[in-house]
């Protein structure tokens, strides 16, 4: 590349405050983003990828100080810029979009004004001109009816629309550099595909350089020209997208790519165990008539029929709002279903009152999505694990013995029982949550997005553990996920849900090979990186 790159990082170091366990948040970061290029910065949590982005924007938290290196934005060192110069640069020469569009937009300001605000600060345009520019950029990000949307508030938009507004506000002044910090992580897969397409289209048309931060190799495959892989604050590998994805050189990159579950389900023999869970015409509606007002009736789940045999993993796949978590919570009886039956070991628990439900609770256990919140931070891990067995009359000492056996089973040291949840990493906490569920000796395990809060390398380990315990204890597993890759690898059968209805159900391999419903096909088409074969099988170098 002959011309100067839009962004050129040279040996950037950012110090961590004293007393931290490593000296630098990022160390000796050197890479560049050319005009019209999308550079994906990939890494797991704690790799320093967000710190790098914040350093470029001059948004580092006060405790973090850049100690060495240069950040050249079109040849100008951002680290040397004064606060007011930085303000001028932001918006005009570089712009940023964030992960969560709802919190990045001001909830009490109309979205049209939020776009116009950028113009008001940085240009001399008159008000009608500002309005026209805002309309123009909203058309460019393919928002429907831009005239109407100018006057709405962020909460009236869907997540994808909000992200489009963010992108519009970021690009309205044609910055040379766009930094996107996990911009699609909070979005559904079909919306994600649209946003990725949009970023690609705008950046091609305008020649913007994009620094795209992500943890998702599917997204990388979809969008990146070049890839920078980071680990613990250092760049471990960089190169062209194809090279990195197909011929990774570094051990760490190889491990990361191998951890991405393949979209191709492995062959699985049908499970023929006894039926552990049978839902029949299960429905849950919210709202309806209140005391003072007539509410909107929401059918969160409607006539759901799903059965799970012992030793079988059945996945419920769907986007947010599809009702998959509602079904899980009904089965766990955290909420009462409106109608239908839930037969667990041939007892219908759908309508049991709390007092008679207790005996059945031990048969159904749940592993939650967020391991940071599913363990009481004030109680030791041991106390959390034995809580259930002790509730059902097991002596404390005996329960503790069972707990330490389970710790070994999930791959943690037994002395971990005396420690508190915050002393563990996310993956370890999820193992603890699994141990707690197993301590009850359940027949049915509900896993509600158990790996979606985890890094991809840890994800693979936790999935493997779940599969191990399923086999060992002949468990029936109801696996809730939005991630088709995860579903492909772990589920014997899957049910695809959309707006509360199961639209398709069948053995995983069949559904993946020949999806019959239009929505299922749309989901598959939106899965990022579907043209690249991930997973350990293809990765023999």
């Amino acid at each position: 590349m002959a011309e100067t790159p839009v962004l050129n990082l040279k040996g950037l170091c950012v110090q961590l405050p004293r007393g931290s366990d490593r000296a630098h948040a990022v160390e000796d970061i050197t890479f560049s983003v050319g005009a019209g290029q999308i550079v994906c910065v990939v890494g797991e949590s704690g790799s320093g990828k967000s710190v790098t982005a914040q350093a470029v924007m001059g948004l580092l938290p006060r405790e973090l100080n850049p100690s060495a290196g240069q950040i050249l934005l079109q040849g100008e060192d951002v680290l040397q810029a004064t606060a007011s110069r930085l303000r001028d640069l932001r918006g005009t020469r570089m712009a940023m979009i964030f992960q969560e569009p709802m919190t990045a937009l001001n909830p009490v300001m109309k979205v049209g004004d939020q776009i116009a605000e950028v113009l008001e600060i940085h240009t001399e345009l008159s008000q009608p001109d500002r309005r026209n520019r805002a309309l123009e950029i909203m058309r460019a990000v393919h928002l429907p009816e831009p005239e109407r949307l100018l006057g709405v508030y962020p909460h009236q938009l869907s997540g994808g629309q909000r992200q489009r507004i963010m992108i519009a506000a970021a690009l309205v002044l044609d910055p040379a550099l766009l930094i996107a910090d996990e911009p699609t992580t909070a979005l559904d897969v079909t919306t994600q595909a649209q946003i990725l397409r949009l970023i690609r289209e705008l950046q091609e048309r305008r020649g913007t350089g994009v620094m795209f931060i992500t943890h998702d190799f599917g997204v990388v495959a979809e969008i990146a020209h070049r890839v920078v892989v980071m680990q613990s604050g250092r760049v471990v590998e960089m190169g062209l997208s194809d090279d990195i994805l197909r011929r990774p050189q570094c051990e760490y990159t190889r491990m990361l790519i191998a951890s991405v579950p393949s979209l191709k389900p492995p062959a699985r023999a049908p499970k023929l165990g006894a039926t552990a869970l049978a839902m029949e015409r299960l429905s849950k509606t919210y709202g309806g008539r209140g005391l003072f007002r007539r509410g909107r009736l929401v059918r969160a789940a409607e006539n759901v029929d799903i059965t799970v045999r012992r030793g079988e993993t059945v996945g419920i796949v769907g986007e947010s709002g599809s009702g998959k978590t509602t079904v899980a919570r009904c089965v766990a009886r955290l909420i009462e279903p409106t109608s239908g039956s839930i037969r667990i070991d041939n007892v219908d628990v759908a309508r049991l009152p709390e007092s008679r439900l207790r005996a059945h609770r031990r048969h159904v256990q749940i592993v939650f999505q967020d391991p940071y919140r599913s363990l009481n931070p004030r109680r030791t891990v041991g106390a959390s694990i034995i809580e259930g067995p002790v509730n059902f009359g097991l002596a404390r000492a005996e329960a503790m013995q069972r707990a330490s056996r389970l710790m070994a089973l999930v791959g943690l040291a037994p002395d971990a029982l005396d420690r508190y949840p915050h002393q563990f990493s996310g993956g370890q906490r999820q193992r603890i949550a699994i141990a707690r569920a197993l301590a009850m000796e359940p027949t049915l395990l509900i896993a509600d997005e158990p790996v979606s809060a985890l890094d991809v390398s840890v994800q693979a380990q936790v999935l493997k553990l779940l599969d191990d315990v399923r086999q060992r204890f002949d468990l029936a597993v109801l696996f809730i996920t939005h991630d088709l890759r995860v579903a492909a690898q772990i589920c014997d059968r899957i049910a695809v849900m959309q707006r509360g209805i199961v639209v398709e159900q069948g053995p995983t391999a069949e559904v993946f090979a020949a999806p019959s419903h239009a929505y299922t096909r749309a989901l598959f088409e939106a899965a990022p990186g579907r043209n690249v074969q991930f997973g350990p099988a293809t990765n023999a170098v």
Binding site: S45, L334, V364, S374, L375, S425
Partner: protein, 309 residues
Amino acid sequence: MSIEVLPAEIAEGVRAARRPGRFALVMRNPSVIIGATIVTFLALVGVLAPVLGTISPSEINPVYRNKKPGAERTIRTEDSKEVQFVHRFGTDTLGRDVYSRVVYGARVSLVVGLTVAVLSVAIGLTIGLIAGYIRWLDSIIMRVMDGLMAIPAILLAMGVVSLSRAGLLAVVIAIVIPEIPRVVRLVRAIVLSIREEPYVEAAITVGTPTPTLLVRHVLPNTIAPLIVQGTFICGSAILIEAILSFLGIGIPPETPTWGNIMAEGRSLFRIYPHNIFYPGVCLALAVLAINMLGDGLRDTLDPRFARRV
């Protein structure tokens, strides 16, 4: 044994290293230090009242009425020795020593403040837990609380005192009742947010009975905000007690309380301002100190404010 060493753990290490203990944080806050020092000082004054050079606070001496601060007189001690006694804060209309009365008055004020704080927090906590967790009781309880909040606190207190014999207990009850709804609201709001936490749902799925669940998983989250709320209640209780005593509907006038002393000094305020000045200063100091303590505790304990400090 495969123990993962992961980036997340490193990040956790950073956070843990940077976070000093809660107690250490609290002790570092200047308004906590100042507030706690003054409150401790006043408490010591109350406890040690008999040995702080006081005479009986209710001893009437018609000869030495309305003396200015610094007036001297000779008193006879128990073993019949004559001692020169200085009325440091002067005497009141009945010739009682204002200094002794103010020092003993600290007892009543602090006892009222503490009892009211403990009682209203305890009762409010119980009702709040029930209202927040048992949904069908919620609207009933909260409407009663709304009703209580609609009655002015002083008016309610006057009503309660007039129904029973005036005394410490009646005054405490009269102040506790209007404070309860505030505590209930606070606790209920916390319970409503905590009950959605996955760890509470996890406890439900392992069959933990509701009372255990509330005590074990929900209650600990309410402690810090309640300590904060408790100090504010303590401050306002001391003030309300003084107001009630001043209005003559609180503790009987022969008992020395700051409010009573001021009430008696009211008629001759223009000539002998010391009767109101000294108890007034003590009252203001006590309430200020307790509120400072509460502010400091809120800044450090309440997660909504903790980050800014």
